[in-house]
Amino acid sequence: MNLRKAFLAASIAALAAFPAAAADPVKIGMITTLSGPAGYLGQDIRDGFKLAMDLEGGKLGGVPVELLVEDDGLKPGQGKQIAERFLGEEGIKLFTGIVFSNVAGATIPDIVDNDAFYVSPNAAPSNMAGKECNQNYFVVSWQNDSLHESAGQNATNLGYKKAFVLAPNYQAGKDAIAGFKRYFKGEIAGEIYTRLDQTDFAAELAQVRAAKPDVVFQFHPGGLGITFLRQYEQAGLMKEIPMVVAEPSMDGVTLAAVGDAALGLNVTSHWNSDFDNAANKTFMEAWNKAYNRPVTYYASQGYDAALAYASALKATGGNLDDADAFRDALRKADFESVRGKFAFGPNQHPVQNWYALKVEKGEDGKPMLKTVGEVFQDHGDAYSAECKM
């Protein structure tokens, strides 16, 4: 009797345990910003990442994966706590998702110090590209400065001589202004640091008007940028002073929200929805089929982050025990990025082309971002020389 019971229990346990062990998916932890005004950024990164998984039927690189998503609420402390829980309780080895540099700065060191991998689909602060670079830290988007270096070069190319610059007072804002100045050859007429939680820019716009610059460069990601642009237009400045921005200040959502007020705006970007390559066509088609909303470059970066993991999972067959092999596979960047040409530089940040876009009226009469030219070719970042791995 007892024996039979024990046998039964053992066989049930075996039955229950065996399939689980065989098909245990690789867990990927996504810490991202889903709540608050910037919630759509994280939502798009998540949905872009999921899109890559869905196209493979829940797999990446042929390996079944499970995506765990948590909201950091744009709070560095919360991001860190989630990372600790993912590392400890869930035993996760692969991370991605963080939108904002301040959250990234608090969270990523914990992840990579615990021998887990992090592939950034967005934020890449300057300190982590240089001295504090890490062999387990990869970036598929861009180094923060590059966004604004391209805007600076674009302003120079367009022949502007006197620029007024505005950015929020946090790491990425300072990186933005530093990056713009590095490639803008003209004079800086004024420089203002706004608050990250600011909603009204009337005081700053009055100063811009008074300084009479040729061009305004501003960096305000997410909801901030929408309000900034609308108020810029309402103040009648759009007609007086042209604006040069990098992609965070003019993504697909911002464009849909700002509407005609954005016509004529100069944008620089590493990706645009009209890029003519096979990977991008697959991505755009899948996105438009799956989601009924404008695509942003955040979604493309989430998608590319998934492809980067897929390339390494494919090369290693999903085996994460050999971290060196996984890292080497990741470094090869053996995937078709939606932006076309892509490689990792020595500090594992992208080396890629940058493009000039302009907001124009599309065929349906709605404003759209049109690619008009190239700004940089095979552009890396200014910090890779400081990185010793």
């Binding site: 889903l34 709540s35 608050g36 005004p37 919630g39 759509y40 939502q43 007072n169 300072k174 420089e191 203002i192 640091y193 706004t194 608050r195 939680d197 909603t199 009204d200 009337a202 005081a203 700053e204 009055a206 100063q207 008074a210 909801g223 929408i226 309000t227 609308r230 108020q231 309402q234 103040a235 009648g236 959502v253 849909a256 929200a257 909303r293």
Partner: protein, 304 residues
């Protein structure tokens, strides 16, 4: 000079927006003794309801009654269902419950409208700028906000000082128990005050729509500043809330506009900008600390 006047107007405009929120908050706090963190959510509800109706119907003006109704209904419902049970509890319970409401409202709005901000276009009548003085152009819409805010202030002054309800409100804010002992239906009064506060918050939310983004969490961004107004003005004092709002609006705008420039006289440009931005975002809290040191009950509470 015109730049200074423009910044002054910006400060006043920010001030009256704060006042519309702070008026309700200070009444609720002063009369009922309830810390209502969900006040920002009502602001958001007003903004969403008004913007949604304005977008669906294509008429900005129809958004106004929609915003006011939605905010007042939400306010009365919150009072009736949640806050009513909290009058006898201590402040921590109230903070917890109303914080819970914030999460519920934010999530509900996310489910209904999504995470992407909504916009309402400005009515043609209020679009564009007007030249107030030679060389001083100011957006008409912002002027309209100032006018509406000042009208509301006058209206509240009359309501509080000249009517029977106002008398009860004043009495309630100085001595709640006595009002109750005199046979006034304090529950009804509470509901009315809560509804009125919500109405004003909804109005502020809708007016903010065309200039700010209507988005989830918009209430929390302004709520903290509103509490600072209430503390500086003195809890329960509408007059205090009015003056504190204007002072705060002007101080905040002035620091943002002029502090980096002043600091640049004494230090390197980029450091001055960063330090100036840092200090100006602390400015209103420093002001609150100074006021609390000198007059712990706020500027407009008579010492009893």
């Amino acid at each position: 000079m015109t730049l200074f006047l423009e910044q002054l107007l910006n400060g006043v405009q920010f001030g009256v927006m704060l006042f519309l929120l702070a008026a309700g908050l200070t009444l609720i706090f002063g009369i009922m003794g309830v810390i209502n963190l969900a006040h920002g959510s009502i602001y958001m509800i007003g903004a969403y309801a008004g913007t949604w109706v304005a977008t669906e119907t294509g008429s900005f003006w129809l958004g106004i009654p929609a915003a006011l109704t939605a905010a007042a209904v939400a306010g009365v419902a919150i009072e009736f269902l949640v806050v009513r049970r909290l009058y006898q509890r201590d402040h921590l319970d109230q903070v917890l419950a109303t914080f819970g409401l914030i999460l519920i409202f934010n999530q509900t709005v996310t489910i209904l409208f999504g995470r992407q901000p909504l916009f309402v276009s400005m009515p043609a009548l209020l679009d564009g700028s007007v030249e107030l003085l030679p060389g001083l152009f100011y957006p008409i819409y912002r002027l309209a906000i100032i006018v509406v805010g000042l009208l509301v202030a006058v209206g509240l002054y009359l309501l509080i000082n000249k009517t029977r309800i106002g008398m009860l409100v004043r009495a309630g804010s100085t001595n709640r128990e006595m009002v109750r002992a005199l046979g006034v239906d304090i529950r009804l009064l509470y509901t009315l005050v809560f509804g009125l506060g919500a109405l004003l918050a909804g109005l502020a939310g809708f007016m903010a729509g065309p200039i700010l983004a209507v988005q989830v969490g918009m209430g929390e961004q302004i709520l903290i500043t509103t509490f600072v107004v209430v503390v500086i003005g003195g809890v329960g004092s509408i007059r205090g809330a009015f003056f504190a709002s204007l002072v705060l609006g002007i101080v905040d705008t002035g620091l943002r506009a002029y502090l980096p420039g002043l600091l640049r006289q004494v230090m390197v440009g980029s450091e001055a900008d960063a330090l100036g931005a840092g200090i100006s975002s602390m400015g209103i809290y420093l002001l609150m600390a100074i006021v609390l040191l000198i007059r712990p009950k706020g500027l407009f509470i008579r010492n009893s």
